[in-house]
């Protein structure tokens, strides 16, 4: 029996690696996901049935009921969620995984207090699981708007650091003394939960992609630690894979915003020092109408669309696809330029456009599209602001200085759709709007694009 279960775990581990590998290409991604899911199913069934232990029927029934409840709820959420809500969903699920790891630790602690290795893993699992759980719930609340974006208590950096150091010292005390007390155990859990809240609360909305990636990584690490506890390789390897994925995405997101991980966690972005108050006139702006914009695009050879999160907020993904199809039919070469942090989580904009049936090979990443802007006749910027702000290149005092951006100012003409002249997410003035090559198309993204499509039909 033991060997059979081990072979099952081995197969599951291989499916995880192969599945993740296949997730790396659009053609094979769906299959890769199914393979990993099948491996997971196998590992779960094996764990339940393949062993020689005497287990009372009551426990089997409970396990069955738990799996059934979890599956039904998980499935219902997954098929109902809107794609704009993906970041919230990932945070929520992620929090559940962390909670699961913490609960396991709570049960196992009492049985293992006398073994240093085991209690170290258990205590680490509880701390990381608890931080991930409460941190993910806060992230979820921020993303769905029920929590105010940034909450900063005075001296939050110092308080946070003291809290985490305190937790580590407390945990070390638990492991070395082998104290077997429920009170001590639940104090540790509470401290972990509190730290998770303190840790995510001060982090600003623009940094959300980094936080989600980081929390995702932490859940993986919690799973891997639990794997060490049970000497269970599928948990160890599965957890580490997730941990690596999360870390890689975290680093990618930081790079895309020219921020260090430290500055996100201990951040000062958008703080009092931001140059938001400096509203000096940067020149005059030129506004345009839907019919002028339609004519210009109609006679262009190359058009690049730069979608930002504002596009999704206005629910204008479908209209933009309509516009793009119409231009393509007229022989215009259309592409989408996707900044790595467009949206609220890594790759979010790609999913939103894919949902509107935009072909993924029309979505071009920043490094590939930037050299092409000088050959572009018209750039249409919709709902994006900071990712096209030239201040990132030429204003060393700007908070976004050094951030990689889409170099749309190299194009022959730029049309920017915006509701008003208010500053963007980071609260920074954008000189692109005052460029002599730029025309502003004011209005709600959906309404403006619908007008544009209507005008285009009349040509």
């Amino acid at each position: 029996m033991g060997i059979l279960l081990n072979i099952i775990y081995l197969i599951a581990t291989v499916t995880f690696i192969v599945g993740l590998k296949m997730l790396g290409h659009p053609e094979t991604a769906k299959k890769g996901n199914s393979i990993a899911a099948a491996g997971m199913g196998l590992a779960i069934l094996g764990t339940v049935f393949v062993h020689e232990q005497q287990v009372s029927p009551l426990i089997y029934i409970l396990i069955g009921v738990a799996i059934l409840i979890g599956s039904i709820i998980g499935w219902l959420i997954a098929i109902k969620v809107e794609m704009t809500k993906m970041p919230e969903l990932v945070s929520l699920f992620n929090g559940f995984g962390g909670a699961s790891a913490a609960l396991i630790g709570l049960v196992e602690y009492g049985k293992n207090v006398n073994y240093a290795t085991q209690s170290t893993t258990i205590v680490s699992g509880i701390i990381i699981g608890a931080i991930t759980f409460s941190g993910s719930l806060i992230a979820w609340g921020k993303l769905n708007g029920s929590l105010k974006s940034v909450v900063r208590i005075p001296y939050y950096n110092i308080i946070n650091n003291i809290t985490i150091i305190g937790i580590i010292i407390f945990a070390a005390f638990m492991v070395t003394t082998g104290v077997d007390s429920q009170l001590v155990l639940y104090t540790l859990l509470a401290a972990g939960l509190i730290y998770g809240i303190l840790f995510v609360l001060p982090i600003g909305g623009a940094d959300m992609p980094v936080v989600i990636s980081l929390l995702n990584s932490l859940t993986g690490i919690a799973a891997a630690i639990t794997g060490i506890l049970y000497n269970n390789m599928v948990m160890l390897v599965g957890g580490i894979l997730v941990g690596s994925a999360g870390i890689i995405l975290t680093v990618a997101m930081c790079k895309a915003m020219n921020r260090t991980l430290g500055s996100v966690i201990f951040g000062a972005f958008g703080g009092a020092t931001a140059t938001a108050g400096e509203n000096k006139a940067l020149g005059s702006i030129k506004s345009t109408t839907a019919s002028d914009a339609a004519i210009m695009m109609n006679y262009a050879n190359n058009v690049v669309i730069v979608p930002g999160y504002g596009l999704a907020v206005a629910q204008a993904q479908h209209v933009i696809h309509e516009l793009e199809e119409m231009l393509t039919r007229k022989g215009v070469n259309v592409k989408y330029a996707i900044h790595p942090v467009a949206g609220r989580m890594p790759g979010h904009m790609n999913v939103l456009l894919a949902e509107s049936n935009v072909e993924y090979n029309m979505l071009v990443e920043m490094e590939d599209i930037n050299p092409q802007f000088s050959n572009t006749d018209i750039v249409l910027v919709v709902g994006a602001n900071d990712v096209v702000n030239p201040a990132a290149h030429n204003n060393p005092t700007s908070p976004i200085y050094g951030m990689p951006i889409l170099d749309v100012e190299n194009a022959k003409h730029i049309i920017v759709n915006k509701r008003s002249m208010n500053a963007g997410y980071a609260g920074i003035e954008n000189e692109l709007f005052y460029n002599s090559k730029t025309s502003m198309l004011f209005g709600d993204a959906k309404a403006a694009l619908t007008d544009l499509v209507a005008e285009m039909k009349n040509i």
Partner: protein, 102 residues
Amino acid sequence: MNEFLEFIENNLQITYILILAIFVGVEVIKSIPAVLHTPLMSGANALSGVVIVGAILVMLHADPTDYVALTLGFIAVVLGVLNVVGGFAVTDRMLQMFKRKK
């Protein structure tokens, strides 16, 4: 320091696997294009639900009269399965949309 060396000594195999798994993870994931970052993340998120295996073990090892362990284990299984099923299902739904049209 001694304790740390002792830990490595006693867990040599698992330490090797841990380190190799980190390298495999980094190598497998680092080449994934930005287009697929969201599905990658939600797929990885589903994988982290592998912690469910531990939750099931908790329940299997629990004494049928140990209500605390059973309750905590039960919740852990529910949350773990939610993470697994929801994660894989939503990733599948997302990837469904990444179709290349002819």
